[in-house]
Amino acid sequence: MRRVLVPATLVTLIIVAIQLSIFTSLRFAGVVVMLVWLWPLAMGLAGLTALALWCALVAGVFFDTHSTTPFGMTVVVGLLLAYGASRLGREGVGDLDSAAWWVTPLLAAAAGFFAPLLFVGASFFTLNFSLWRDSLLSAMVVNAIAFFVLARPVARLALWVGNLGGSRR
């Protein structure tokens, strides 16, 4: 775990940089694809529980410092996705090597669909009741599609990073 922590953190920072530099401008129907959520999700599906939670924390904290939404909400959603995915990943569901090719993308699409909803739900705890008025449905649909498309390459990257530590789980 310790050996893989440094490369995982570095890759996470690159993912945050890609999110902020490219995905912020590259909008589909005005919606930003949240790579910072897909990354810990892919880690989780690879069965790397601790690493997935770490990546969700790092990506969320760095992303939240650049955003004007209440601090910590991206972290919370990332952690929830990472934890949920790692429960499935530990059972081998969504594993790139053993499951059918469409399982990982489908799980990612479901996560991408519900992640913006979780974000808006989390905002209620910060007494922010206006976020649902924004393009919530568009954000859900676009993220679901994008997560479906990007799930396998990102999961492959997660597996590669995980294997740098020598062992999985």
Binding site: L13, T68, D134
Partner: protein, 272 residues
Amino acid sequence: MATDRSRRRTWTLGVAVLFTIVVLYLTTGVSSGLRGGANVVVTPFSWAVNAIARPIGHLLAGTVNYSDVVAQNQKLRYQLGRAEENANAAWAYTRQLQQLTTQLSVPFVGSLPTVVAQITTLSPTNFAATVGISKGRDSGVLVGMPVVANGGLVGRVIATTANGATIGLITDTSSSVGVTFKNGKTSLIVSGRGLNNGLGATSVPLGTSIAPGTKLLTDGLNGGLYPAGLPVASVKTVILTPGAATYNLTLEPSADLRHLSYLDVVLWEPPA
């Protein structure tokens, strides 16, 4: 021995991180400190990603949209010619406007100083309509100042650093602007509906005479967040619900918020 060295290294790293956090905290405050620290860490990665991705992106975009680029160039040349023609006449109008403004005691329209800033970042999230600009506290930009561009009100400054600021756009879901129209006797509250959804106003009394195309300006009421007379939006549709005592409006922002590149920060602070 190796353990001692490793422990010393951990201590040094810990002290360095703590020192950085304390310095950032003391110099810029907690939230700005966090933002500054995060920027310091992420910037080299962003720079590397940009260095690789931008030329490829530009090449692809240029190839795919070449005909658009040519058409746009021709259109811009035409507009430049028109602008040059108008520029000669503009100074006379400006002078006349200044005279009228002084006579009417209007608190805005050219009398307030502004700072021109370039947009540097877009909102990274789907749930906040904000932009980052290139001018900050060092240029006199302070939290609460109104921002105008492209023909109308854009938003207000919600956070500043020494060399940058974040603008909350009027389309942000947390934004509310007091506006008035025509005779200036009726005031409405215009609310943001998200970056992609424009603006709206609800609970407009049935007796209010307003039609599509009506232009709404900031009301500048005492204690308001904006000076009077800034164009905010024009009425797009009037939504009447049978039996209701009020109606709703959908509005089109006066400023073209989708194509912002430069904007003016009005150096005006809301009265305390």
